[in-house]
């Protein structure tokens, strides 16, 4: 595995599972923004394309002690990507300021190694050509290319919105970076809220907070640093993801990883050696 790339700006999410009611607005907003085709029967979940899926979590207790929670799962934008390392054609990489894992459709050969590698099942293969009901293709956005069958796709943190936010700054004659408070740090000049993903924007509950994980002024930084309620999925794999989840319920946090029965739920840095 190549050395982990660090960036000045690391876009990330903090998703509050105590706020998510599982309504699905984020999933629909994602499809509309990223030009995913609808399907009449979406029962076969192995064939259905969803960049963002809201999973239902259960504390597995019997009535009346049962609790339910919902977990929206976008691409986790790992800093150590299991997917990019197995891609034989470099169709996916994380090589750009912002730390978003790219996926280049014309380059993808559809071998699906990345799908096998992704521990989050965040990648989807186009088994079929996308088909819209007649005329509905007129409502596609101009920002995201439509993928043909035979390629893999995934959530891009609405990367096109990042591009457009940068362009807006440039057209105003502004720099796209500003100096950070700490010496030697740079932050994106994009104001917090000027670049948000479609899902975060749509969520009526404000459960998804999007921003720069490296910028202390951003809410997402404040929510994910030294927060005992924050956790990441399968943290002990060392994928170093950019999507944090927050819950005050221990059973929810415990579902974020595969714990042994007698293990206590805790932050991985306490379990893992410093270097891994």
């Amino acid at each position: 595995m190549s050395a982990k790339k660090e960036f000045n700006v690391k876009w990330g999410m903090a998703i509050d599972l105590d706020k998510c009611t599982g309504c699905g607005a984020c999933m629909v907003a994602c499809q509309a923004e990223n030009n995913l085709a609808p399907v009449a029967d979406a029962s076969n979940k192995l064939r259905v394309m969803n960049w963002l899926v809201v999973f239902e979590l259960s504390n597995n207790k019997e009535f009346p002690d049962h609790e339910v929670a919902y977990l929206p799962r976008p691409c986790q934008q790992c800093a150590e990507q299991p997917c990019a390392t197995v891609c034989p054609v470099v169709a996916t990489e994380r090589n750009e300021e912002g730390g978003i894992v790219s996926q280049i459709y014309p380059r993808c050969i559809g071998c699906r190694y990345c799908m096998a590698a992704c521990p989050y099942h965040a990648r989807y293969f186009n088994w079929f050509d996308p088909v819209w009901p007649k005329g509905m293709e007129k409502a596609l956005t101009p920002d995201v290319s439509v993928r043909p069958r035979g390629v893999v796709e995934k959530c891009t943190f609405c990367h096109h919105r990042y591009m457009m936010a940068k362009d807006k700054l440039r057209a105003q004659g502004k720099n796209i970076f500003v100096k950070g408070e700490k010496r030697g740090t740079k932050h994106s000049a994009i104001a917090e809220g000027d670049y948000v993903t479609s899902c975060a924007e749509a969520c009526p509950n404000g459960a998804i907070v999007f921003g720069d994980l490296n910028n202390p002024a951003h809410r997402v930084y404040q929510l994910t640093h030294d927060n005992p309620n924050a956790f990441r999925l399968l943290e002990r794999l060392g994928t170093d993801t950019a999507v944090y989840y927050i819950s005050s319920r221990e059973w929810v946090r415990r579902l974020g990883d595969n714990y042994l029965k007698d293990e206590i739920t805790q932050k991985p840095e306490k379990i893992l050696p410093k270097k891994h």
Binding site: A3, K4, K5, E6, F7, N8, V90, A91, E93, N95, E96, E97, I100, S102, I104, Y105, P106, R107, D143, V144, S145, V146, H159, H160, M163, M164, K166, D167, K168, L169, R170, A171, Q172, G173
Partner: protein
């Protein structure tokens, strides 16, 4: 006789030998001619614009500059071919003088074209289906803003061949990728690849990489920190 015979045989043989290469050479020549002259016409269909448009008239006679029509919008996107609204700003009515007997054919053509435009498009509020010479496929996010700000920030002050324009001549940066159209007073047919639907002028990735992949254009400070502008997501969507 014998000598003769021998000579005849010899020359026959030489002729045969020479003859032996000829079909090969002819084949090669035919292939080359076909490949270099006929094939390009076959693979590209020539499509013409809906009506006559002259950049020259707009720039020389009217005195507009590139950015009057091709400009940035407030959201940072670039207009490219302007929408009807931009044109209608001037062309609500016919601007060209009605041609007289003394008018040149060029003036007549310009009048006719504008009349057609005003009547068929402006009055009816229809967008003109201009054909574009240069455009990128869907999987490319091309940012004019990025090229304007980023390339300029260094190359404006550079000297010699690295200079991509000066404060007096900012259009030079445009001319790095676009041909200069100030002198152009005719429509150039748009060559469209019959197989790919790409315009013949479409810049290929290797052309982008002439700058993007230049070692000086991205750095790696050895600490794993990069500012690569050759990452896939710099251009792709």
């Amino acid at each position: 006789m014998e000598e003769n015979k021998h000579g005849a045989d010899d020359s026959n043989c030489r002729l045969k030998c020479a003859c032996g290469v000829v079909p090969f050479l002819i084949g090669a020549a035919v292939a080359l001619a076909f490949g270099w002259w006929v094939f390009p016409d076959l693979i590209f269909s020539k499509q013409s614009q809906p009506f006559y448009f002259s950049h020259n008239i707009h720039m020389e006679k009217v005195g507009t500059v590139c950015s009057d029509c091709h400009s940035f919008r407030a959201d940072g996107s670039f207009t490219g071919v302007p929408a009807l609204g931009t044109c209608a700003g001037c062309h609500g009515e016919i601007q060209t003088d009605e041609p007289s007997a003394a008018s040149t054919p060029a003036e007549k053509a310009a009048y006719e074209a504008e009349k057609f435009f005003v009547e068929e498009y402006v009055a009816k509020g229809r967008e003109v289906p201009w054909l574009r010479h240069q455009y990128q496929p869907d999987n490319v996010f091309f940012s004019h803003a990025a090229h304007f700000s980023k390339c300029y920030s260094c190359h404006l002050t550079m000297k010699g061949s690295l200079s991509l324009g000066t404060p007096d001549n900012p259009d030079k940066l445009c001319m790095t990728c676009h041909p200069s159209l100030a002198e152009l007073d005719k429509n150039i047919p748009v060559a469209v690849n019959v197989l790919t639907d790409y315009s013949a002028s479409t810049m290929k990735m290797w052309e982008c990489e002439r700058c993007h992949a230049l070692p000086g254009h991205f750095y790696n400070d050895g600490k794993g920190r990069t500012a690569a502008n050759n990452a896939c997501y710099t251009c792709h969507k």
